[in-house]
Symmetry: C2
Subunit: 696 residues, 2 copies
Amino acid sequence: MLLIVGFALCVLAPGCSATDTDIALDAKATLNHRIQSLDLLVFVFLLALTVLTIWLFKHHRVSWLHETGLAVIYGLIVGAIIRYAGTSATLVHMQVEPQGVPTYSDKLPPDTLWFRYPVNQTNGTKPPEGIKTYAYVFRGQVHDVDENEIDLKATFDPEVFFNIILPPIIFYAGYSLKKKYFFRNLGAILTFAIVGTTLSAFLIGGFMYGCVKLMPKYLSSSFTFLDSLYFGALISPTDPLTILAIFNDLRVDVNLYALVLGESVLNDAVAIVLSGAIQNYGEHYSNTGEFETTAFLRSLSDFFSIFLLSLMIGAAMGCLTALMTKFTRVRDFPLLESALFVLMSYSTFLLAEATELTGVVAVLFCGICQAHYTYNNLSEDSRQRTKQIFELLNFLAENFIFSYIGVSMFTFPKHHFDAGFIITAFICAAIGRAVNVYPLSWLLNIKRKPKISTNFQHMLFFAGLRGAMSFALAIRNTVSDERQTMLTATSLIVIFTVVIQGGAANFLLNWLKIPVGVDDETEQLNNYQVHSDVEGGGVNRNKMRLSGGTDTNLDTPVDGTNGSLGGASGGRRRNSHEKAILARIWGNFDTKYMKPLLTHSRPTLLETLPVCCNPIARLLTTTQQLTQDGSEFRRVDSDSDICIDNDTGNGLSQDGSGAAPGVGRRNSLSRMEILEHVQSPVSTRIRLLGFYGKKL
Amino acid sequence: MLLIVGFALCVLAPGCSATDTDIALDAKATLNHRIQSLDLLVFVFLLALTVLTIWLFKHHRVSWLHETGLAVIYGLIVGAIIRYAGTSATLVHMQVEPQGVPTYSDKLPPDTLWFRYPVNQTNGTKPPEGIKTYAYVFRGQVHDVDENEIDLKATFDPEVFFNIILPPIIFYAGYSLKKKYFFRNLGAILTFAIVGTTLSAFLIGGFMYGCVKLMPKYLSSSFTFLDSLYFGALISPTDPLTILAIFNDLRVDVNLYALVLGESVLNDAVAIVLSGAIQNYGEHYSNTGEFETTAFLRSLSDFFSIFLLSLMIGAAMGCLTALMTKFTRVRDFPLLESALFVLMSYSTFLLAEATELTGVVAVLFCGICQAHYTYNNLSEDSRQRTKQIFELLNFLAENFIFSYIGVSMFTFPKHHFDAGFIITAFICAAIGRAVNVYPLSWLLNIKRKPKISTNFQHMLFFAGLRGAMSFALAIRNTVSDERQTMLTATSLIVIFTVVIQGGAANFLLNWLKIPVGVDDETEQLNNYQVHSDVEGGGVNRNKMRLSGGTDTNLDTPVDGTNGSLGGASGGRRRNSHEKAILARIWGNFDTKYMKPLLTHSRPTLLETLPVCCNPIARLLTTTQQLTQDGSEFRRVDSDSDICIDNDTGNGLSQDGSGAAPGVGRRNSLSRMEILEHVQSPVSTRIRLLGFYGKKL
């Protein structure tokens, strides 16, 4: 072999025209690639370290520090090491001007500059090889012309968060949302998320503006109201991962869990759209900088239209996936099915971004629809696989972002520490959260049957940790000093709330005497168990036991019964006055039209649509839907638990107790309902089969 | 709420200083983001379409078109549509020169240019707001200064392939490699992959150079021997996905399957290192462009050192993961365990890249080690999850790259069609493949006991499809006309071989009378079933039935028996003269030291290490290893099938038959061996437990 290689190289012809500059450029490109790999390696190493440490913590039953808190702390340590130990490669820059007579014909600076540079001019041994032209690509405005060193150690383009890190987190939040308790508390969740977040944003904005104006520093002159409003919007969304993990471990009251989780999922969506609208107001609509009615109304319509359109795109793509999985037999090939699921979910994000909507919001509602409809059509293999994949992606993305928050405290070059601003921000964030929780709870309690007790309100207030979304919004735009001050304050608030507030949650739960260990409801709570798996004899039952001890009661009878309870729509009409009207209307519509259309559930469209629509209904009803037997029928419908009432006293009770007693009663009730319900569809099914048979 | 918003905006202070230029820049950035999202959306849509169509094909049992072929075809169609239907946004560029007196103090052009540009100069209503400074980032050399339009529709940075698309494909190849048949044919596979690929690269390079020099065109003057050598290296690796899928469906002879798969996995690694060494020769080592002994030797040592070091990094990281999973109880938390597995595997790639080695090669050997050692330590949940995740990633990445090959034929701006070169390339690629297969088979057949029959050689020749690696290497560097011509030829060769050659494989299998339907060995063949799952009563048995009908025989008794066969190292010593010496030595070492160290398998290090090392051995042996009973012992060791001999006539036989008869005999033999083996360790275990008990 060596001979051949030698022979081959012997006939080498001339033609290697690499200059010294080329070689140096090549070496520089290699170096850049190495540095990028090293940067990523730092974070991967951090994550691996976090995983190992959190295993140790879980192993020794330490629950006061969540993995995200640990990731932040490790991030801070590594960030400090990088900052003070590493050497920095300074970027060389050169001032240039147009060649010849400048013709600024365009409003915009050019996309690329072509720069002629003499090569090999320092190399005396060879004749200069002339001038080469290099292309330079537009990056952005230089705000601080005096600042010489641009130090970019272990930092990423902030858009990475919006395009790579946040989508899987938000999708998973939607995909794993416990629909039953979510819909039961829909009114309260929507109030907290939409009204509360907006209220909090504007109040924080107002307070901050007032406080900053009182400060003697330079900030008071340059800090605009829009800036402080933007800060209000970005600091309002909550991210109570730590609290939810503790709730999950301790099996806290389900409705409290649903409120905290539901609010945190939705207020991310609200905050990102709100901050976009505020930014648009400043950049596009307002000419003078003063308040203008037109500009304000346009921003307002922006807010609602972007939110609703993003929601619709997400829901539409989710439903489209459901249709695809219902009307094809792609479930025979689980790999293809999973691939289709992932591709459709990702395309939702891209579609929303391509149409100038908010991909994150679209992906959230896509996730909810995928869980509500598509999940029922998937094969067992795909159910597991999609859950596991998104669970892992969510885990990695979450911990990556928290590591980055830690590391960037030291390495991100655009931090701006201002003690006054930071203290004010902490106080305002707390006030904003209080305004979000207490007055709205009071308002809700007027009409709400299981009232939100004072202790629960305190817990809700306390669960206002700030997290990934706040940080991503803060780091997105750091061009001005004000924005940099905001980033620093936001980073510190996130770190403080995640580590300190998260760590104190256990203690507070005891202190507020919030009921824990609500055993019978745990299956509903388990955040890591997306859906109860009611199928067959427990084969392939998916036990993702992140939290160690909570998977033991998956096999209790309650499991199966709750699942089938969902299928029994007979429970829907009882005590419906206790539920939000919105949830009731939607529940009706969903059971009658959406589920029969998008999944294999009963009743079919042939039963729910008026007779005149029978041809269409027949077309949209699969044979599987008509021929399935009772057990399969229950299974397929296992997550339509939107319609369960909380008439048995295990809702949010004033004294914080009374969760357990109702369960037994409910179960016995629902078993009867199932019997009633199963009997009636059987006859219908026989009739329908005859009908369908004619067609065939 | 509206009131509050209104009130808040009423107190808006001035300070919105957005200029027209800022707004236009913002709009442009938004547009760019939209276009990028749209580009990605095109590919996601293409993949979804491919998934749906391939489901239809599989549903109707159409096997002549593989999903990658379909992806290429759809890519071509969509590429043509984009090319001829879309409008193009031209980039504006401007020639610049240094401000003031130029001081070219550095050999390198600067990293960034600062460009002062007057804003709002076209807006008459407001006074000009002065000059802003914009930063421009270095991109690269402009080679064709006359070319005005840089058209970048639906294209990606080629480095995306090396850093994002290839790693999961290559890792999965290593992770899912069937070790038994791989090691049984190790000699032949290594010969084909290392010697064959190098031979083929140099021969193709030589032929191409000769042919090009005969051409009257401009190419003959600028085309260097290094260029053609690089072309030889990039066109040599094979990627017979289609063929393997058909082999899998039809259950073709296992040894042929192992040869084709093993070679294709390893020659990717060889080719990427070889092409890197050739490039280094041209850029760094050779000053004159003529053949130089020093430069040649340095390139040669590059080739071997980079290959071996990458291999070692990959293997070391795989073993480190095995140690982590063995000595911690992280398996109690499958999510953490899976996360650790993914992070360690990814960090292998980054580590290799950061140390200027080849990440792709490292990841391949990491995958092999993860499958060989770590997989045995994982919990059942993590086994499934990691297999499923990498299977899905592999599927998406593969189809993405083939879609991109199709689309880029029309949209990539740097194609250069040259009919003569393309025809020559096709002929040379075929000759190179022939030189790879026939002479080496003849050489191997001198010593090899089950010889590679002529028909099998024809099939090996025919299985030389080109794929992802060739394309990625070709598109990596397209600065010169010669490189662009190579890219075009490579793309066409890939498309032709995947679609036409892949489609004809079925026919050829019949024509060459290659035995298919080797039922009893299918479990070993199944590419999508990474390991046979021998545990317990078949609960959680993972059926990834991509190929529809091949999972039916997973539950045959052969399954469990083969698995335990692997554990019975008693079979190792029989007929060992028939195996490659390399494989035998390694097998011995592996069973005696590596497996006991890295997994929970028996015999433990206490048994295999000399007595003097007992303290260390005791430290490295887990209680689980000592206390496991026979059944668990067999399970843990289920994939140590490196040591199975092919003495029963089901190897590569001259007449192409005789695969089935031997199986029964081998099974009966091995069952006896297991019994013998299980009896002896029990006594050893008792002794060891006593020994261990003293320590506790």
